[in-house]
Symmetry: C2
Subunit: 270 residues, 2 copies
């Protein structure tokens, strides 16, 4: 019988040319589809929620697929992960992508179309030179950053706006550039680290990286926190900041339940 | 004028076939010599203290070289690091190997022959499945480990012994297999993490990884802590435990001053 299966996926984006299947290069979708085809015994086409770029990481990417397979749904993660790690049978090795969970969903469910929103995290280190172990996992900014100025700017981004100013050219064309950002937090988990966490109903191409680049310029004093409202109103990409590099970006969570997303948002406000 | 220069080097061993230069494969020594040749304007031959294996990391590898170069010693790290990161001029990117420090030493100094001892660190995670971000940086052990049993075994390894039982075949032949381990600590920095820190005047081929494999088997209850004395006395590799994988091993520090090494040892005892 046909089943619709939703996967939760973690990956280190360093070794991939992004999510989307492309001929001749190693992509997350491409590697997963190969492994799923091997494990399920027939070709699999994945619908992913986010087409993350080369170098971008995921803690909770989601993708769905449908088919009539011989293997029980709950056995798919371990079988696929072993295949991906190149260690069939041992069960404890790990490749640079792994399935965290496989869950059956009602017929007609689609990982992307049914998503209500997402949370991204962006990790910035400043001051000291980045070490070899951090080079692929954060954005290193030389000058110190004012988290306070960044927070002042961040609150102006929260809400429903036309985000054309924070959209890069080259993405899939969208009907509208209006999106709702439910929450945008600037945290300082360590003296030399700033993390940006942003939750919204959807994001335009490179939107989180451009928001981050803009907030970094605010944190460095190159832009005033008050400039955000003007940038948004003008809708001009050239007024916003630079595009922060992919290495610092993590797709953290996808929500299928608006309530769950808002609860997370509420918990942040406490 | 000829200068003898001592480098302190950090690397992520994942992308290297170990330290030692070999034709046709990417090694740390090979990449550094290429970069130094470019920066110094003439061929450079490095003398490294430790021939770390493929996958083994270093926080403080040391290597020395000698020559008459146009570039001041203090400018070598940034120039070489930019070359290694492939970002000439920007000064803030980082490759998977970088020079932390370059220092002039008296004529005749040799990084390996003058070393008085080393500290290695080994990182073990147990219980939960390793995530994609940890896969190259620790040894994942399924069963829980008793740090207490491992500590009992560790104290028996400290001291001057014939360590033939902890030596793998295939290393450079040594005059003697007697070494002194000044200190061997089993730490638990987090509930699911065990770190082994070992300081000695020298280590045989794969010695730290075999000590770790043996301690893991003690921690899992497969070997008694009291078995160590017998294993040492028998001098038989087959009685010791398995060789722990390279990913968890970090070359932490090299000592040129016996006093400094012993002070570090003393501070651990407090």
């Amino acid at each position: 019988m046909e089943r619709t299966i939703l996967l939760t996926i973690e990956y280190d984006g360093t070794g991939f040319f992004g999510w989307q299947r492309q001929p001749g290069v190693r992509t997350v979708q491409g590697e997963l589809e190969k492994a799923l085809c091997n494990v399920c015994g027939k070709p699999v086409q994945l619908n992913g929620t986010s087409r993350t770029d080369a170098g971008v990481h995921a803690l909770g990417q989601r993708a769905s697929f449908r088919g009539d397979f011989g293997i029980p749904t709950e056995k798919i993660p371990l079988a696929v992960n072993n295949f991906l790690a190149g260690t069939l049978g041992s069960g404890y090795a790990c490749g640079d992508v792994r399935i965290i969970e496989a869950r059956e969903m009602p017929e007609g469910f689609h990982a992307r179309f049914d998503a209500k929103g997402k949370t991204y995290r962006y990790v910035i280190r400043h001051g000291t030179l980045p070490g070899v172990f951090e080079r692929n996992y954060c954005y290193h900014v030389k000058m110190p950053l004012s988290a306070e100025a960044m927070e002042k700017a961040a609150v102006q981004i929260v809400g429903t706006h036309d985000f054309a100013c924070f959209q890069a050219a080259g993405g899939t064309p969208r009907e509208t550039t209006v999106r709702t950002i439910y929450d945008l937090q600037v945290k300082r988990p360590a003296a030399d680290t700033i993390q940006i966490e942003v939750t919204g109903d959807g994001f335009l191409y490179n939107m989180v990286r451009i928001i981050t680049g803009t907030l970094v310029e605010v944190g460095q004093g190159k832009k005033s926190p008050d400039a955000i409202a003007e940038i948004l109103a003008a809708g001009d990409r050239r007024l916003a900041g630079h595009t922060a590099p992919p290495q610092g970006l993590y797709l953290e969570q996808i929500y299928y339940n608006e309530q769950q997303m808002k609860e997370r948002h509420e918990s942040w406000l406490i």
